[in-house]
């Protein structure tokens, strides 16, 4: 087993587990992106349900950028990071960055099902879903675009 016996040299000194990707602003590309986050969740041996939650949060962040951002580069920039707390808890972080027009968080109304029923507009649930499904969420937005950073613990 001489050839396969020890870890190949390049593998020993590896950096942080960070995978970055760019996807085009195009229909269903958000689903293509979820494959990546699922693979990284599986890499951490996260439960299928938690992976599903991260997938939906990612889908919501992507479709927000697709719909609202008017990305100057017609691209969405995703970064996935795997890490571990000093205490040992592992996490999966997802960053969704668009170079779009940004928005004012203070202007976003909290949704409710009753408001949805009363109004013609039934949308407005994306950010709410993201915040509910992820353990930590940070949103920064401005004229440069929008960045959503979200973390899920294993």
């Amino acid at each position: 087993m001489s050839q396969g016996g020890s870890a190949p040299p390049g593998l020993a000194a590896h950096g942080p587990r960070e995978v970055s990707m760019s996807i085009p602003v195009a229909p269903e590309m958000e689903i293509v992106a979820t494959a990546q986050v699922a693979a990284l969740g599986e890499y951490l041996a996260m439960t299928r349900d938690k992976i599903d939650e991260v997938k939906l949060a990612l889908v919501e962040a992507c479709i927000n950028a697709f719909e609202h951002a008017d990305c100057r580069d017609e691209q969405l920039h995703l970064t996935f990071r795997l890490g571990q707390e000093p205490k040992g808890r592992e996490w999966l972080e997802v960053e969704v960055l668009d170079k779009g027009k940004g928005f004012d968080k203070a202007m976003v109304e909290e949704p409710s099902i009753e408001k949805s029923f009363a109004s013609h507009r039934k949308r407005g649930w994306g950010l709410q879903i993201i915040k509910s499904l992820m353990d930590e969420v940070q949103i920064t937005s401005g004229g440069w675009g929008t960045r959503i950073l979200m973390r899920k613990y294993k």
Partner: protein, 119 residues
């Protein structure tokens, strides 16, 4: 695209069961709405949505489901869900959708629940 949601349905008395297969986004939601509205036009009063072959419903899809629910409620009918993954279940509860549309574990229970409400 393999992710396109397929919708099929079957009427049982006053109740219609709708099965989805795949991603429920705007297209998937519209597919469901089209099918549901056709049955409502033909007099169906109850709707059971079996999502057991769906793993993701995005918020656009959900907004369309809210429209369908509203139409059903306008007609004094009832809508119920079954076969939800834990994540879809959680999402529907977070949104308060579960207050207006019952969530059941199995199709049979959902059928009985909707039957009772529309009888």
């Amino acid at each position: 695209m393999s992710e396109a949601c397929k919708v099929s349905s079957e009427r049982r008395g006053d109740v219609v069961i709708l099965w989805t297969d795949g991603y429920i986004n705007n297209q998937g939601g519209e597919e469901i709405a089209r099918e549901a509205y056709a049955h409502l036009e033909q007099g169906a009063r109850g709707l059971v949505l079996n999502l057991e072959k769906t793993r993701i419903v995005n918020s656009i899809g959900i907004s369309i489901l809210i429209e369908v629910l509203e139409k059903v409620m306008d007609r004094k009918g009832a809508l119920a869900f079954c076969g939800l993954t834990p994540t879809i279940d959680k999402t529907f509860r977070i949104m308060g959708l579960a207050q207006y549309a019952e969530i059941y574990a199995t199709e049979d229970e959902a059928l009985r629940g909707v039957d009772a409400k529309t009888a």
